[in-house]
Symmetry: C2
Subunit: 435 residues, 2 copies
């Protein structure tokens, strides 16, 4: 009775052991997949000559805010620092931090700089939407280049990253904020009206846009160009349509930039993985040229986003052109899901069972096998072989190794099918185990 009560209390209190919304525990399978995503991306960045930096979780708010648009500024976790009396923020995005590092601590280094990062950042998000508050970012920044070739490098790297991760059907949706800015800067309308027009374009709401424009006294040719924006998405023919439609210099330069990027994509053979969307007015607030978002087919959330941001380091005292992208690892985890099963879990695992009191043979075998790279654990609970086999099955071990009573040989049992083979201990200790 008393014990039942205790049990109920325990269950009740366990019920309260919840996590704040928007953060998660990752148990072994998903945690291994996230580690696989991290490493695969890091290694790809490395092959492109990118070197890692690690940005701190905490920054002075007034410093970090220089590099944040209003959107992320409002999403930052902040607190009063006991020590300095200044406000401190938890970083909501690595890109402004890398910009700060480049503009201050690395400004003596020769350009270009190729940098990568991999970190968890925190954002206040309305929890009705079920959005993550903790975001796992992995990305690169290329500083010191303005050329289309550097824009293309970002896109090729993003495509190769997705290929390296095993993604099959995906699209990188490329925008160029300068194209629409070249059109929109010709408008002189009240801010509220501009805002409405922009939102309608972003939503690709053509009839809404037509209505809004009808209320203005815009030049009909300019109206036509604006009406074109929500329709300028698709394959490379979009660039042709855009080019004939506009005459202003800024928009035409944007098209020329996209054509030059496309040329490099063709050299790398990734041109089929991209589409264009010239109705993108801005992505993150700091973008100044090409922008792109990567989607896996059938998944609505972008797994990566990137683009050019030539004005960001200036906020930290040193103007340097830049381009970059970041992967959202949790969106990747969700989008790739079962595709990651095999790669993240291909471990060879051996559980060693020794019934004797003296466990030294088991320990020596374990040590030898680990040195060969096998993943090996000793079953240390006092239990019989059947229980050990049951444990090995539930915990997904590949083999159970049973030390024979003569201490001269082992029985290696394949957990999945129960098949067995006998191997001498001397052979294993001599490094001749190979399954």
């Amino acid at each position: 009775m008393e014990s039942d009560e205790k049990k109920m209390m325990t269950n009740a209190s366990r019920f309260e052991l919840t996590l704040p919304k928007g953060v998660k525990d990752f148990l072994p399978v998903n945690a291994a997949k996230i580690e696989y995503l991290r490493r695969t991306l890091h290694d790809l960045y490395d092959r492109w000559g990118y070197r890692p930096v690690i940005t701190p979780s905490l920054e002075f708010l007034d410093v970090m805010e220089r590099g944040l648009g209003a959107g992320l500024r409002n999403k930052s976790f902040k607190f009063d620092d006991r020590q300095s009396g200044r406000l401190i923020a938890f970083t909501p995005d690595c890109t402004p931090q890398v910009a700060r590092i480049v503009a201050t601590r690395m400004r003596e280094r020769p350009l270009p700089l190729r940098l990568s990062y991999d970190a968890r950042v925190l954002r206040h998000e309305e929890q009705q939407l079920g959005k993550d508050r903790e975001i796992f970012q992995s990305g690169v920044e290329l500083y010191g280049l303005k050329s289309a070739e550097s824009d293309a490098e970002m896109i090729v790297m993003a495509v190769e990253s997705l290929q390296a991760l095993g993604a099959e059907e995906f699209t990188l949706d490329i925008g160029q904020v300068e194209f629409s800015r070249g059109i929109m800067e010709q408008l002189s309308l009240p801010a509220q009206q501009m805002q409405q027009i922009q939102e309608t374009i972003e939503r690709k709401d053509l009839s809404g846009l037509r209505e809004l424009l009808a209320k203005t006294d815009l030049d009909p040719e300019l109206s036509e160009q604006i009406l074109l924006l929500p329709r300028l998405f698709g394959g490379r023919e979009v660039l042709d349509r855009a080019e004939v439609a506009v005459s202003n210099k800024r928009s035409r330069e944007a098209i020329a930039n996209l054509r030059a990027v496309l040329e490099t994509l063709e050299v790398y053979g990734v041109e089929e993985s991209v589409t264009f969307d010239l109705g993108v007015l801005c992505n993150l607030e700091y973008h100044t040229g090409i922008t792109f978002d990567g989607y896996l087919s059938g998944v609505g959330q972008a797994v990566c986003s990137g683009g050019r941001y030539d004005n960001l380091t200036a906020a930290f005292g040193e103007p340097i052109p830049a381009t970059g992208f970041t992967f959202n690892l949790l969106n990747l985890l969700f989008a790739l899901d079962q595709k990651l099963d095999e790669v993240a879990l291909k471990r060879t695992d051996i559980l060693i069972f020794q019934p004797d009191d003296d466990k030294s043979t088991a320990q020596r075998l374990a040590q030898t096998l680990r040195r060969q790279g096998y993943s090996v654990a000793r079953d240390m609970l006092k239990r019989d072989l059947e229980q050990t086999l049951d444990y090995a099955t539930k915990m997904n071990y590949r083999f159970v190794m049973l030390i024979g009573p003569d201490n001269k040989s082992v029985t290696l049992r394949t957990v999945s099918d129960g098949s067995e083979q006998t191997i001498t201990i001397a052979a294993i200790l001599a490094g001749r185990f190979d399954v």
Copy 2:
């Protein structure tokens, strides 16, 4: 004049772009070393059959506090959650989080559970001491075993970890809190006096301890045992000296546990890497048996610490014995320092220079070489070969590859000594580059 003023302002404002005390930026060399530490440890844990979990950065304060001693509780960063109205804390230690996960989300899984983690945690630290507020932890937890063999597994893994990282001279200092508790529980002294005695023992202040004990009316034999505590450190002979000195069951069981651990260490051949210190009264507040700290010779800060904590999951509703350890990656970085130069920076890097306007040959070569695993960047700035070579030297590239004017061969220049060789482009594209 105006430009000079601007420059001064820029410098002045740059001066303000500092970081909060206790956190750091890590530039490429150190960041690569940290990544190397992370991976080497993760892979070693993996070979011992440990599977990763990822704990969230945020927890409800009342949940997390169940697993924190007063020390860490006071060091937690906290804030009011807009959404839930509850207090949220940033995690100051992964171990209580893993305990929560094991006791709640993994309690249906068969024991033992071998888990690893790797995360950055935050602690308020008095900044006069210059301590890190952001701590990079990497560690393991072994749940469900009480045996000395499981205690030994932690120590062997910690030793092998240090060996895998290239540490040469190091010591794991092993304590057993039950030994001193067996003696101290026999005392019935006021709390303040107990506290003073404990502190004097921890400081190994023998004369201070003698003075304190003289003021009590303790049994002389017990006094002698207490006076022994600060002197019980050194090699395995400590265990013999301890055994003859005490008669209480709790202390004797602690010695028996240490002897059994030592036996397993001998099987693994790591017994020379440990010393004993029976004057350790507690390490982290949750420890209940063996404790240990790892030191590299000549460095005062421990690089790892671990031990047994059998009561931690009970705070989350499920009592399970446990043992574990954690590495402090920044202390490791400091202690190993130059030893990590080679391993973290052994990259083969090629910078490709193509003077023509058409860069497609350079891009194709880069793609081919990356697929072979080389780390390759295109020099995209418009500049002459001399400037490119200067850049390659400063940025520590191994080779500069100059595409010949005939587009048929390249000159491969070794940056360190200026030596050159000619290779046909056809050979590289056919995968026959091998330097």
